[in-house]
């Protein structure tokens, strides 16, 4: 989580300095969801996420250096600069994609679960998606199919109160989205998404259920985007009171306290310092990495290879 937060902060600074290309969707305040969930999984398990996937990238074990390189469009990025921050994928870690089509991470994870089921493998997949995404048609279709076929998938709804600039109450006919699980005959529960332990426990239960072959579950993790929709957003739609209340519930200080109790404050400080060094180094190396060279994409060429076309 600390890694993610430091990554986000550094990205925010670089954006302000005009050094990023296009907006960055920071997940400050939501780290507990992605990190807590990914911690339940092994590299063999799949996870899909949204345009706001940094916590999942980090949680699933990806290296900050190559994440940063991708965000800055470098040859050394996870996708050689072709995908970018929203569409990053890393097969080795089962991180099968950030996805910037809202809702698309949901059927994506279910398709992987179908593949797991058909091949009778001991893996699961997890779909992370937002409260805005929960209103899309593919969310409904996917939940119905997944529940019907008992696919080994966990639906992790990252409810951060907003879809872009619009409050949840302007987008959803009901305030509590986990209730919709009943319409598919699957378990649904609401949890504190800022409590990394609660996230870990809920996802563990759902993961076990999925592994047992009992099918999907819906977890609605309530959380909040402390830094708005993206670095391009002009703000103004989140009230100061709301922001302040959620800042008090920031998952990082919360976990810091809990960890300090068990590990001692020094251990925690050491871990944080190491994270800071790692992020520092990641940016330093990545920003010095080369830009990719252009190569056309052979399978996209619309004429037969022997042809003279394209």
């Amino acid at each position: 989580m600390v890694l993610t937060r430091l990554l986000e902060e550094r990205l925010g600074d670089l954006h302000k300095a005009g050094k990023t290309r296009g907006p960055i969707h920071r997940c400050d305040g939501q780290e507990a969801v992605g990190v807590g969930a990914a911690a339940v999984l092994t590299d063999a398990d799949f996870i899909t996420t949204t345009h706001r996937g940094h916590a999942v990238y980090i949680g699933k074990g990806l290296e900050p250096r190559r994440i940063v390189a991708e965000i800055f469009g470098r040859q050394t990025g996870y996708c050689g600069g072709r995908g970018g921050h929203m569409l990053l994928g890393d097969v080795e870690h089962g991180m099968l994609g950030g996805n910037a089509i809202v809702g698309a991470s949901i059927p994506a994870a279910a398709g992987m679960a179908l593949s797991i089921q058909l091949r009778r493998e001991d893996r699961i997949s997890v779909a992370v998606f937002g409260d805005g995404a929960a209103q899309t048609g593919i969310c409904h279709e996917t939940m119905n199919i997944a529940a019907l076929w008992k696919l080994p998938v966990v639906f992790l709804l990252e409810h951060n109160e907003y879809g872009l600039t619009v409050h949840h109450s302007v987008q959803s006919s009901v305030p509590d989205l986990h209730l919709r699980a009943a319409g598919y005959g699957m378990p649904g529960e609401q949890i504190d998404g800022n409590d990394v332990i609660a996230v870990h426990q809920a996802v563990s239960r759902a993961a076990q259920r999925a592994r047992r072959g009992d099918g999907p579950s819906l977890i609605e993790a309530r959380t909040y985007r402390l830094e708005g929709f993206s670095t391009s957003d002009m703000g103004g739609y989140q009230t100061p009171e709301e922001l302040a209340a959620w800042r008090r519930r920031d998952p990082i200080p919360q976990s810091r306290e809990i960890l300090a109790e068990t590990l001692g404050a020094t251990r925690v400080a050491d871990v944080e310092a190491a994270a800071a060094r790692e992020i520092e180094a990641a940016f330093e190396t990545a920003l010095a990495d080369p830009m990719p060279a252009f190569v056309p994409h052979a399978p996209s060429v619309p004429y037969t290879a022997r042809g003279e076309g394209a």
């Binding site: 994506a108 593949s115 797991i116 199919i145 994409h297």
Partner: protein
Amino acid sequence: MAMMRYAEALNRALREEMARDQTVFVFGEDIASYGGVFKVTQGLAEAFGDRVRDTPISEQTLTAMAVTAAMTGTRPVLEIMYADFLPLSLDALVNQASIYNYIWNGQVTMPFVLRTQGGGGVGTGAQHAKSLDSMVAHIPGLRVLAPVTPADARALLKAAIRDPHPVVFLEHKLLYNTRGEVPDDDTLGEIGRARIARAGRDVSIFATSRMVLEAEKAAAELDAAGISAEVVDLRSLRPLDLDAITASVGRTHHAVVVNEDWRFCGYAAELSATIMEHAFDDLDAPVERVATLDMPIPYAETLEREVIPDAARIAAAARRALA
């Protein structure tokens, strides 16, 4: 060699590939217990159990699931009942299937096949008679195939299933009952190769899917009038066999293109542009474009037959090209 229906040839391809490769599975609406509304998947559920699934009516999600199932070790074959429903699959095709092999820097391939059938001629009306070829042929990273003979149906479906990239496989409702010889060997079709359906000297007619049959009728009619037409069955809409096209035009110096999708921004437009770009100096006249009239497909027989191309319109276009 065995004589069989187009639908049977497809069925055989599915059976053979499913038997050969455990990762191939088939899903779609009414395809398991009922065997598909056009009976292409008949008997597969009995033979392959769980690997043949009836689905809810959820084209958009099914297509999206095919993409990621394909990316994680299986080879899905998804049936979309009518080509008219392709728009529902399009987000998954253009925003998902199309991109990953490239944007993830080659980390994944997506060996899946989306089978569907289009076309008019039987009074199914504006929502069940379209051919939306150009919408799918437009998408990078995909292959689009449209075999017209039972032999090609089998051979190309097998090739499609084995291909590492997403394939949209376009069938036609009026082809399922047509019959033809199908070889017994394990022939794979070659993606991106056209076929000369009938050799000729005066004009080349490039056609797709069922329009190849209409073009052959037109050629017979023209023959009677002393015009020798070559009919080229393109088979592979993307990638397109440019060499076969330029070679044919190099021989005949006149070209007609025929496709059952709408004319404007349709697949025939691409053919026409491609030919004129690559064979401008060989052409003695502009390429004649024959396609479905630009309007919704009407229901009544007297109206529908005015809208969809047929041998008469193709023959007239060939005459115009030669005029």
